[in-house]
Each structure stands twice: as C-alpha cells, then as structure tokens.
Symmetry: C2
Subunit: 386 residues, 2 copies
C-alpha cells in the first residue's frame, strides 16, 4: 500500500426532506447566488423547495448553465458574482452544474487575466467562495469532492482542475429526485459512477486489500440496483443506494494508497468535446478497448474483478479477465448504452489522429497507472473503439 | 435506507515516515501538551520521532495515562492544561490514550463543577481544545471519530460521550508501529475492529446495500490479514491493511442510514470495569451469546454474513446463521482469544445480576437495534457467556 493523505470535510445531508435544512446550512448573513441549469428544477418542485427553505436569506439567481458547463456562460455568472458581492454559491443541479459552481468559486478569487488559466496551469485551488450543493442527478460524485471539469465550445476543449478549497461546505442528497430523472440520464449516472470506480480500481493488484473490496462493493451495489432504478426510478431504496454509491465512487476514499488509471476519462473528454457525446457514454465506448489494449498489465486485476464482482469461478486468469471485459460491455448494454463510437457518429474516422495530436500538443505522454501510454497508444485504443 | 448526516473533518496522514509531518500539522504558535501512556513510545522510537518533528514547537509532556483511561489521572492532566495555558493536545498512543485526550479537550472548556458530568449528562460536546494524534495501536478507530470512553476506578464505571468538537484535527497512521506491538494487543486490535463493524452490521437486512457491502469488506480484510500480522507484525502491507481497516471500522461511515446494535459494547464495558478484562476480549466473550439470544431477529443478517463473509453456501437460513456464530467464535480462537467469562475469572457468578442492576439503575432498558433488550435479557446473555 502506498502512503496517502485523506481529508474530506464536506457535510452530507442524505434522505427525504433534507432540502429544508438549507435554511440552517446556508449562512444567514450571506449574499447567495443560486445556480441552476436548464430549468428542470422548476418542473420537479425542487426550485420551490429550495426557495422556501431560503425565504429568509438574500438570494439572487443565475439559471441556464448547460450540461458540460460552458466557459462563456460561466464568465457571465462571474460578472454577477463580482457585481453583486456574492459570498455564497448554492448549486442546485447535477455534476456539471456543481463543477461550474466550483469553477466560479475559484474564479472569483483568481487574480490573473484569464480564469481559463485555472484549468491550464495545473495549480491546486486553495482559495474560493464557499458553496453548497443540492444534488439533482446522481452520477459524478462532484457533490463530495474537490475536482471539476469545464468545457469551452470556442476551442472544443474539456479540462479539469481542483484543490482543497473546492470541497462543498455541504451537499444535500435527497433520493426522491431520482424519480423525475429521464432514463437516459439515469443510465448515464450508473455508467459514470461505475467507471469512476473502475478508473481507481482496474490497475494491478498491489496489496490495497481493503481499498479493492470497497471498490468492489460499490460496483456490486451499482450492478444490483441498476435494473431496479431503470425499471422504476421511484423505487426509493434503489434510488438511495444508487445515489450514495455515486457519491462514494468519487469522494477520494477508494483511491487512497493505490494506483489509479484515468486514461479512459482523459480520452473520453475528447469525444465529448468533439462530438457532444454524453460523458458516461464516452467512457463506455472506450473502456472495453482500453482494457483489451492493456490486457497484459491489467489481466490480474481483471481476473480478480471477474471473480469478485461477476462471480466468474471457472477458467484461467486470461479467460476470467477476458470474460470480465465482456461482462462490463454487457452491463452497459443492459443500460441501453452503446459501446462503439460508430454507433454515435458517422464522422469518426479522424478521431484517433485528432485526439492523439491533442495529447501530444499538451504533452500528455504518460497516461495510465504505469504512465506507459503514449499518444500512439491512445490512437490505437480509440481505433479499437470505432 | 434511513436518512443520515455525515461529516468527518479529520485529516489522515497514512504511511511510512509520516510522523515528521507533525512539524507542519501542529500549529506553530501553540502551547502543546504531549500525552502518552506507559512509556512504550520511548522504547520503540516513536517518542524520539515526535520530539524531533516538534523541535521548533513549545511542548510539555504528560505521560503515564493507563489503558482504559482513568479519570483520576486525567484530572491531573487537566490541571497541567489549565495551569500552563495549553492550547493544543497531541495524543501519542492507542485508542485509550486518544479517548483520554478527547476527554481533556472537552473538560478544559467544561464550566460545571465535576467534568464527570460530561459522561453522565449525555450532551454532545461542541467545544474543545484542538488536538491531533499519532496512533501507535490500531484497534478502536478513535483516531478518526468523535467518541470516547472513560473509566473511573473509584466507582468501577466505564462511560462514553462524544460530539462534533472531538474529531482529531489530524491523525498520523504509520503502519510501521505495528511491528513493535505485543501479540496480545494485536489480537485485541483485530477483535476490537471486527466487533466495531459487527455492532453496526449485525442487525437485520433493511436495504442499506452499499453499507452492508462496505461493512463486509472490512470484516473480510480483517479475516484476511489477521493470520499474517499475528505471524509477522513486521509484514508492512498486512499491517497497513489492518491499520486502515481499524480506522474505517469506526469512522462514522458504515453505520450511516442503517440501524446499529452496540449492546455487546455496553455489556462489555461492565466486564472491563468489574474485572479489568481487555475491552476486545469482553466483546468476544459476549458477542456469540448475544447473537444466539437474539437469533430470531438477527438470523436473516447472520445468514447473509455467513454467505458473504464466511463463504457458507449450503444449508437453510437457520443453519447458515448458526454456522456464522460458530465461525465468529472460531475466528476469535485463532487470535488466541478465549470466548467464555469463566476462562478469565473464577469470580463470575454474580456478574449477570450486577450488570443488569446497573443497567436498571441507569435506565438502560432499551438496548439493541430494536430497542427491545431489557436488563433481564442482559442478565440472560451474560449468563450464557459464563
């Protein structure tokens, strides 16, 4: 096991009726900016619950932040924050909206010329406006971590940053929101959380015995509840386990002391930036090819995953590992998620080249848990995903 | 799943060589009181590492705090804290020492006459002197929670309290300390952590699917590493998994949203208070009888535990549940821990009556996850443990 540091100060308020606790969790004297997306919170009643809880607070609003939070829109929100002396942000939405809020938290204190530098200079963010979240879409785990991903349409880029200042003060997780989420986004949420675990788990066995079992626990729970929530998103208990699994999948716990991969995410972000494919679906497209391409270095862990998560008891290590990849693909298919790039776009032929060139330009030449994947390898993995 | 709130702000520094980070983690301008126990830290080199890291801090010492932190000794330490204007406590030791430090943190701000009231009045502690820990004995999880248990020889009592002010600011967990721990205390640590998980897990299935799997992960890891650390405590990777499992067993995560029992602990504390039996061993004495006495309400979960943790695949639910209790007893025996009270003392005949009378006096009349156990039931469970 490797050395590690772990600290996660976010307060989680989980369950039915928790939104009313906003009245106590948001500091009384603050100038609050409520941030939200396309307006679904006005249809499903969450907006009303939030405003009711904050009836004695001073609240301004900024709606219309799109999925894959767009830089230019966030820049408009930043002007509001500065002009209105906002000192508390409340994100009501999914992971994209929370990521956008984190970016604004950091950008408000950024002293350079262009806040985009926060994403390109690679420095940890140590100062930000305090913020809380009300999660409306279980998936990304952003509600209990300090990372963020931002998209910029102008350059078709999608980049990430984070830092200790960017943990939410609190996050409210009410599983009752799940019943109003469309099937497609539920499927994305399951796949996204699943792949978050896989990025931290599917490397090689190195003695993180507890970490492995914790990761497997989340995978098993997602596999167990996925059919139930896809069939009936109003199944509260299935929704609750789904929601808590998504949070636990990326709250900084299961990766402590063990190697991580994240190459699938780095490649996947490009497919979203280039073609607008849902984030979770880009991961489902790339993961099987990634595991096949890196079979030799990952086969021991793939076999462990086959045994413990998919109950594959027979066969050699290679056979189990191969079965594990197929099982993973089949799981995505049960969610009605397609796993080939050509099933999403006809314009895929240049993708491998485009992405590998971008990685070369950014000097992303050491991907994966062994830092062994070069842009040429990235091109091959993407080609295998066509 | 039940509603819950979760927040754990403690910073964990885990691994080899982490003790030197004390120089940064302990605030520079503070008046530090270093608290320790019987002096083993002076033999195993930890004291020297700590003092070296704090060479530029102002540090006073208070050693000699005994296992099962004794109230009268803590009262002496409290005088030092007040007299010397101590404003940061550093606990270097095991769970008892950390519990004692938490009590001092709270007692320093206690405004009533007798700090013992902190333990008898049942109020959450919301104000305390900040403190950090260097853990030398994996077992109790106190290094990453806000609870404490204190013993008072004068009245032969052992009582608990806690509160949001009593999370350590940081805890340093260096698995290399494990190699200098005597076999008996290693066994106690494994059994203690195991029973912490069991108290939060061995109730009834109620849909906490992820929580169940997380709990089972810790049990499986403890079962996996116990033989390795008992054979060779210098096995760093086994020690690291043991140490992290003990912390994760009681850091407030696995009990979120699910019912808890804790009756074994409440009874066990009395056996320690009456006979001085090691805490972990009191749990091993009582747990099997507790599960047998409550077989009807616990059998579904016992069967799940049999299947998932002990790989018992055959038999009826009752048979699996019965086997699970035997497996648990056998696990304690592999640690050379005896599971009958009569194996620890000849003077046991009055125990059941004494403990049930104490519980009646304290109005502890609703123990267990169903709040159904009365003092008469407690007497029967203890008799079954003779």
């Amino acid at each position: 096991m490797n050395n590690f540091e772990f600290q996660n100060p976010t307060k989680i308020l989980f369950g039915k009726g928790q939104i009313e606790k906003l009245s106590k969790e948001v500091p009384k004297e603050s100038n609050v900016l409520l941030l939200y997306g396309g307006g679904s919170i006005k249809k499903n009643g969450i907006y009303d619950q939030v405003m009711s809880a904050l009836s004695e607070h001073k609240v301004m609003e900024f709606g219309g932040i799109p999925p894959n939070p767009e830089y230019s829109v966030l820049m408009e929100a930043l002007q509001v924050i500065k002009k209105e002396n906002i000192d508390f942000l409340l994100a009501v939405g999914g992971g994209s909206l929370i990521d956008g809020t984190k970016f604004l938290s950091a950008a408000a204190y950024f002293e350079g010329k262009d806040p985009w530098d926060l994403l390109t200079k690679g420095r940890a963010v140590t100062k930000g406006i305090p913020f809380g979240t009300v999660l409306t879409l279980p998936a990304t785990g952003s509600e209990m971590n300090s990372g963020l991903v931002i998209t910029r349409e102008e350059t078709k880029e999608k980049l990430s940053t984070g830092g200790p200042a960017l943990f939410p003060q609190f996050s409210i997780l009410d599983p009752e929101v799940v019943k109003s989420i469309p099937q497609r986004q539920l499927a994305n949420g399951v796949a996204d959380a699943y792949m978050h675990v896989m990025e931290q788990y599917m490397t090689y066995p190195m003695g993180g015995l507890l970490q492995d079992r914790l990761a497997e626990s989340i995978l098993q729970t997602l596999i167990e509840v996925a059919p139930a929530i896809m069939k009936d998103p109003a199944d509260y208990n299935a929704a609750a386990n789904f929601m808590w699994s998504c949070t636990m999948a990326l709250n900084g716990l299961i990766n402590k002391g063990v190697p991580e991969d994240w190459a699938v995410h780095m490649m996947g972000h490009e497919l979203t930036a280039l073609y607008g494919i849902d984030h979770a679906r880009t991961l489902a497209i790339l993961a099987p090819s990634h595991y096949r391409f890196n079979f030799e270095t990952k086969k021991a862990k793939l076999a462990q995953y086959a045994e413990r998560v998919w109950n594959v008891t027979k066969g050699t290590e290679e056979e189990k590992a191969t079965t594990a990849i197929v099982k993973t693909e089949e799981f995505f298919h049960t969610l009605d998620i397609k796993t080939k790039l050509s099933e999403y776009t006809d314009d895929y032929a240049a993708t491998a080249g485009t992405v590998s060139q971008r990685f070369t330009k950014r000097r992303w030449t050491k991907l994966g848990e062994n830092q062994s994947l070069k842009p040429d390898d990235v091109a091959k993995i993407i080609e295998m995903s066509y």
